[in-house]
Symmetry: C2
Subunit: 124 residues, 2 copies
DNA sequence: CTCCTTAGTATACAAAGTGATAGTATAAAC
DNA sequence: GTTTATACTATCACTTTGTATACTAAGGAG
């Protein structure tokens, strides 16, 4: 599924799906979001997303890199240092990411007015 | 996992994730996209997305309904007739959906220069 | 020599998502 | 009585995602 984006032979494949495939991973949107303002090291990204495991962070980053949205810069030092930043193409996603965030924030603050549907956050 | 949107017990939960949770399903973006210009019946949506199974169409639609983005109108007739349309909240997603599509189309046209894939826009 | 660091990888396993197929309900048409 | 139509639901199997945990490399500190 990660192999090639946009190679589905069915003619209904469109940009909506393509974009969602690229940013739709569980953490990709947030990773991209964090990378918009600044370049970050692997560990820094991890601290910004306490719930993510190293494995997932690695994987999502690799996929993002594979899709040409994120650049990975390795410094051959010990201990290792790797920096992640948005590529030019990745930067073109910034407005979209921001819109994603804005809509989401608004959505969260409104919480389903009287649909009988429960979207409430319990005490936790 | 569909149970609750916005469980931001951890402070890193943000709008980006919330939005992605809502539209990130495999078919949700496309469903929403098809519903932007017009109300559609269950079967019509199915025809617009030949690859989707009834099961998935039903489920994605229910989740969208549960998230308050899609309205489901049932006509008590035989054979059954059910119409799906965007709710007011769903309409607020339209610009985002379009941006998703635009970015994706641009991405596809650059990533795959002439691989014979088809980027036809459904319902455009 | 052992321990510490960072950015991973390897392995095992659980959960979620997806697909194929078949079945249900009801009224009208035949 | 059987078939047709629509919008589902149920079941099973399989694939993808995600988690937890342990382990690696290589140089410096002690």
């Amino acid at each position: 599924m990660r192999a090639k984006i946009g190679q589905r032979n069915d003619h209904t494949f469109c940009g909506v799906e393509a974009t969602l495939e690229v940013i739709g991973g569980k953490w990709k949107g947030v990773i991209l979001y964090h990378l918009v303002p600044e370049t970050l090291r692997f560990g820094e990204l991890g601290k910004l997303m306490p719930k993510i495991t190293q494995r997932m962070l690695t994987r999502q980053l690799r996929e993002l890199e594979g899709d040409g949205l994120v650049h990975r810069k390795v410094y051959p030092v010990v201990p290792p240092r790797v920096e992640y930043s948005l590529t030019e193409r990745g930067r073109t996603l910034a407005p979209l990411i921001m819109q994603l965030k804005n809509w989401g924030d608004a959505y969260l603050s409104k919480e389903q007015p009287g649909t009988g549907f429960d979207t409430e956050t319990p005490g936790d």
